[in-house]
Symmetry: C2
Subunit: 281 residues, 2 copies
Amino acid sequence: MIPHELKGSEAAKAICSSLQETVANLRNKNVIPTLAIVRVGSREDDMAYEQAAIKRFNNNSGRVLQVTLKENCTQEELEKVIMNINRTREVHGVLVMRPLPKHLNESRIKGMLNLRKDVDCMTYLGQAGLFMGEKGVFTPCTPQAVIELIDYFGIDVSGKKVTIVGRSQVVGKPLAIMLMNKNATVTVCHTKTADLRAECKNADIIVACAGKARMIDDTYVSKDQIIIDVGINMADGVLCGDVDYDKVAPIVSAITPVPGGVGALTTSVLFKHTVLSADRS
Amino acid sequence: MIPHELKGSEAAKAICSSLQETVANLRNKNVIPTLAIVRVGSREDDMAYEQAAIKRFNNNSGRVLQVTLKENCTQEELEKVIMNINRTREVHGVLVMRPLPKHLNESRIKGMLNLRKDVDCMTYLGQAGLFMGEKGVFTPCTPQAVIELIDYFGIDVSGKKVTIVGRSQVVGKPLAIMLMNKNATVTVCHTKTADLRAECKNADIIVACAGKARMIDDTYVSKDQIIIDVGINMADGVLCGDVDYDKVAPIVSAITPVPGGVGALTTSVLFKHTVLSADRS
């Protein structure tokens, strides 16, 4: 039985619990799953996410290594950091906060970071592996959080019509591939879609990842649908998703809240990927 | 005005004509656009395609270099060939006939071939570039043939509902990304899709690339649709597409024939990519 409110925190706990045996085995070999977070500058949302990751790792016997560079650092300095992390055996995963400042060449980093440590799928080889269905590649954390949520609540997507609203490289596009691989019939919508309401109303599952506060209201949904809201927006000083929860929740069969939905899962995915990477190495 | 029968040969001629000025400029610099075709063994369809490519290149002042290896060649021999082609300035594009025999490691070749010569998008970096929307990467020839056909006949896909039947790595998946980039609203269907007829009937454009002879018949289509048939199948000794042309053609607004549709365009795309690569180098 799928609950009406799909709480990310529940799924997050389950993911972390399921990894405790692996973490204990690693500890017996003196290995602590370690994530390096590379941050250039001190953007507020980067720092908030970093703190959330540190908390998640610390609470689950993992470790975060903070590597912080000044906003005006050089490409050479950044590349030295990446090369150093690539070489360091004790680091199993890397998260590079993006976008990087404009004077830095992000492409070179995407080509340079070790694929085995690319726990958020930022590299070219990671993205190619995701797109081509290669085994052993880590998927990006946010779309993977959607998959984990679906799996945790036993939502069967095989053969189901899934409408994704948003075609970004960080969520919409990779999620389309990942849901196709789970045998969903996926439609990707965007600002140019002629009749977005119809595409949404006809779906079994809607995934909102357009980055537009409360754009999916009661006129977009129908009974028996499952709504997954990936949006995190500030509107009138309040944190809200891409779905107008108050209007939509009474109509549909199940829905993720914001906050406390998909967003509550991403650091667990980061932890999971780092543990798997540590276990492989 | 879009004609009822969308002939690939017409579009193919137009592509090759549009390149003649570039080809002439290259010839003045003693550069002849050259494609190396690497074939292991002598599979019949590989050889037929090779001959078609040779004809296309010869007729348009290009050149094909045939590199043929025995069916039982070693990985080392194949890799030597690839490394040699990577180094050879006079070769601008490479087509490796696939699938390779099972004893050979295709992944290593996907990692090894020079991205700049990857005119059919077989490499990991090429696939990553396609998926991530990087500029200057060559798309795979068959889905690109669909795009060229759409462009040649002035079919506007922006905001239109496109249903793709088939999710293969060579056609369905890359085409989904490419059509999304042209602002189409894309739905990808496959064997697990619950109601394929409805997904097809509701589309503005259907692209059939499932590899199943005449599976799309008159019960899948509606008036005013455009049907693009990528299938090439043998059924009862006759070459046919994934669409039952005789039943579908009278109903829809436009349709590609098989043979003479998308298939007639692929060697022109191969030529185009090779010319562009020569022009860049």
